[in-house]
């Protein structure tokens, strides 16, 4: 494999920071800086902050991330499969259908359980 292709990505990572960072630093230099207590209050629609932002949130968000995680891992398998698809037989399609079917079973279970429901 040619590592040269990846040098570009590596350099992009190394240099890409500079482009958005430059205007921010420039802004730091040019802009006025006069902080005061009131200005630095956390914004809460004009009233003073009530309690800490760390109140309990619903675990619903976690379930969506969870379903995503499982799908994401499965999709990783789909990429080499799709890439090699032209050189594979019909059996490969069948296998992938089984694979996806099992995934859909899990999704349907989650759905039926009502875990995908927001209310």
């Amino acid at each position: 494999m040619n590592l040269n292709e990846w040098i570009f990505i590596g350099l992009f990572f190394a240099l890409g920071w500079a482009l958005p960072a430059t205007p921010i630093v420039l802004g730091k230099i040019l802009a006025p800086k006069r902080p005061n207590q009131v200005k630095q209050q956390t914004y809460e629609c004009g009233v003073e902050m009530v309690g800490s932002p760390w109140t309990q949130f619903r675990a619903q968000y976690y379930i969506f991330a969870l379903v995503f995680l499982v799908f994401d891992v499965e999709l990783v398998f789909l990429f080499p499969w799709a890439l090699a698809y032209n050189q594979l037989g019909l059996f490969a399609l069948f296998e992938m259908t089984v694979f996806i079917f099992l995934l859909v079973v899990a999704l349907v279970y989650t759905w039926r359980k009502g875990a995908l429901r927001w209310s």
Binding site: A59, Y62, L69, V70, D72, V73, V76, F77
Partner: protein, 102 residues
């Protein structure tokens, strides 16, 4: 290229770091993160051995992909357990979870 043993040393260091985290951290999520580090060390080893010993056969890569699957499943269930326990006890300290101890 870089000799094989250097990759193995890096993996060993990462594994030991993770091991220390698993043994010493109190927070259950931190323990889970340390386990991820250990799994990653395993993956480095798998891919490095594949690259240096059998680059024509893809067993090492395939194995690494399955490690990803196991890691994902482990994290999904592990975090679900932690969140579930947190809901009941308002704590994720591993030592506090002693329901099965006597």
């Amino acid at each position: 290229m870089v000799p094989l043993w250097m990759y193995l040393v890096v993996a060993a260091a990462l594994f030991s770091t993770g091991l220390f985290g698993v043994l010493a951290r109190r927070n259950a999520i931190a323990i889970l993160m340390s386990i991820e580090l250990m799994l990653n060390a395993v993956n480095i080893n798998l891919v490095a051995f594949w690259r240096y010993n059998t680059p024509l056969d893809l067993s090492g890569q395939a194995f690494a992909v399955f490690v990803f699957v196991v890691a994902a499943a482990e994290v999904a269930v592990g975090l679900a357990l932690i969140i579930s326990i947190y809901r009941k006890r308002q704590s994720v300290i591993a030592e506090d979870v002693n329901m099965l101890k006597w």
